[in-house]
């Protein structure tokens, strides 16, 4: 286990992100303690993927601070990247390489020691050992998804970010992923995942959050409570359509700059 120089695996404060005039994340705060799994719900376009991309360092926030494992996302980007594993919508794998070759490639880039053993372990964890030497393009979508998960856990990151990881997985694979996430957090590492499957999100996440209006709420309770939180969503208006977000933003920025 890595030496941890922070109380939280993830600590985000005042996070903002807009795409041109469209605010996606607005003054968002998030803290994820070590050993916690957080399931993130939200309607399409609510900003779940944007939030994960910011935490993964592939998108820059317009404002706010983020610390991952105590490292500042803007100033210590390389340290953050070493400590984060990402499963995105796409596999990040090369179709003409085998899962083993893909993992070997990423293991070298991440500077993983004892590569062969770690690759074998990652493949074993996702149940892909038998197809490890077949080209990725010959694998089913579910198997490609498993290989993507193996790639994300290969360097044993402190924080695992998964964007709708259940997509394309059959029942057995979902079970496998649930077990893996449980094991991951029991080792003191943290997980943030997004999903549209409320039951699955509740099963996988020790805590649940709903992203709406660019901010997070943390409804406690069952699937019905979360569904209600989701149903109440109103899409954010464009700043051109409504001056209110702009005025609120200016006020907030003024307070922040003081």
């Amino acid at each position: 286990m890595n030496a941890r120089n922070s109380d939280f695996a993830i600590l985000a404060e005042g996070l903002e992100k807009s795409y041109r005039e469209w605010p996606v994340l607005w003054n968002l705060d998030l803290s994820v303690p070590w050993g916690e799994s957080l399931s993130l719900f939200g309607a399409n376009g609510s900003g779940k993927t944007t939030l994960l991309r910011i935490l993964a360092t592939s998108a820059r926030p317009d404002a706010g601070t983020v610390r991952i494992a105590g490292y500042d996302l803007r100033r210590q980007t390389a340290e953050v990247r070493r400590r984060v594993g990402v499963v995105g919508h796409r596999s990040y794998l090369y179709d003409d390489l085998t899962p083993r070759e893909n993992l070997n490639y990423y293991a070298r880039l991440y500077g993983v020691r004892n590569r062969d053993a770690r690759i074998a372990d990652a493949l074993e964890r996702v149940g892909l050992s038998a197809r490890a030497n077949h080209r990725v393009r010959t694998l089913s979508n579910g198997m490609q998804r498993r290989a993507a998960i193996a790639r994300a856990i290969l360097h044993q990151p402190d924080v695992l970010l998964l964007d709708e990881p259940e997509t394309g997985l059959d029942q057995d694979s979902r079970q496998m992923l649930g077990d893996l996430l449980g094991q991951w957090t029991s080792e003191g590492r943290s997980v943030v995942l997004t999903t549209h499957d409320i039951e699955l999100g509740i099963a996988w996440g020790r805590r649940t959050a709903v992203l709406t209006g660019g901010k997070l709420s943390f409804p406690k309770g069952d699937a019905e409570t979360i569904q209600m939180a989701l149903s109440g969503i109103e899409p954010l208006k464009s700043c051109r359509q409504s001056r209110a977000p702009v005025e609120e933003r200016e006020t907030h920025r003024g307070q922040r700059d003081q």
Binding site: R53, A59, R151
Partner: protein, 224 residues
């Protein structure tokens, strides 16, 4: 520095392995290059002695078009399954990503040119056995690879990348092409290094400028 070189070697190895598996880039560009010289031979039909005058221009026009074909693929592979994003969230510096891609393009282009050059020499009637010609090709190809890789990354993010790359590439790489044509004219005329005049240093200067500017610009191109 060691980490940068290690990351570069890993990425270059991966690109070579992918090319060996797919065989979609080098062979198709070589076929294109051979077709160009055949078309030129039929279209121009030069008088004896005239071919040698036209050869440098034909050679570098063909090499430049071959480079745009090869460069077009440089980042397409990375984007096919989102692998570029996987690379960007890894602890690999943007400089290493750019330099590895440029090094791969440089190696592939040298391989393509090594196959095409003897064919052009035979068809256009000049001697390819000249070390000054070899040096010209290496330096000009390095310029092509650096600027082509940058614009390939830029073009890969647009819908019309096949059109976008040549539109961006040719105006910027024009000084390298001019220098290469002039240097090649003298090299196949039997001139020594001194005889090449300012053209070879001119290409080298452009290479150094591209080597400094392109990795820096690349980091902005791939950031969200």
């Amino acid at each position: 520095m060691t980490a940068l070189l290690g990351h570069m070697a890993t990425m270059v190895w991966k690109d070579i392995l992918l090319e060996l598996r797919s065989r979609e880039l080098v062979i198709s560009v070589i076929v294109f290059g051979l077709l160009v010289v055949i078309v030129f031979s039929f279209a121009i039909d030069p008088a004896p002695g005239q071919a040698k005058t036209l050869a440098p221009g034909i050679l570098w026009v063909a090499f430049a078009f071959a480079a745009t074909l090869a460069m077009n693929r440089a980042f397409v592979r990375e984007q096919e399954a989102g692998a570029l994003e996987g690379l960007l969230v890894s602890p690999v510096s943007r400089d290493a990503i750019f330099l590895a891609k440029a090094a791969t393009s440089f190696l592939f282009m040298l391989l393509i040119e090594a196959v095409l050059l003897p064919a052009y020499a035979v068809m256009l009637g000049f001697s390819a056995l000249s070390w000054t010609l070899g040096l010209t090709i290496v330096l000009a190809t390095l310029g092509f690879a650096l600027i082509g890789t940058l614009f390939s990354a830029l073009a890969a993010q647009t819908r019309s990348r096949e059109i976008m790359l040549p539109v961006l590439f040719f105006p910027i790489v024009l000084p390298v092409i001019l220098g290469a044509v002039e240097s090649t004219t003298r090299a196949i005329g039997g001139e020594t290094f001194v005889g090449l005049g300012r053209w070879l240093p001119l290409i080298a200067v452009f290479d150094v400028v591209f080597l400094v500017i392109c990795p820096w610009v690349f980091s902005f191109v791939v950031e969200d």
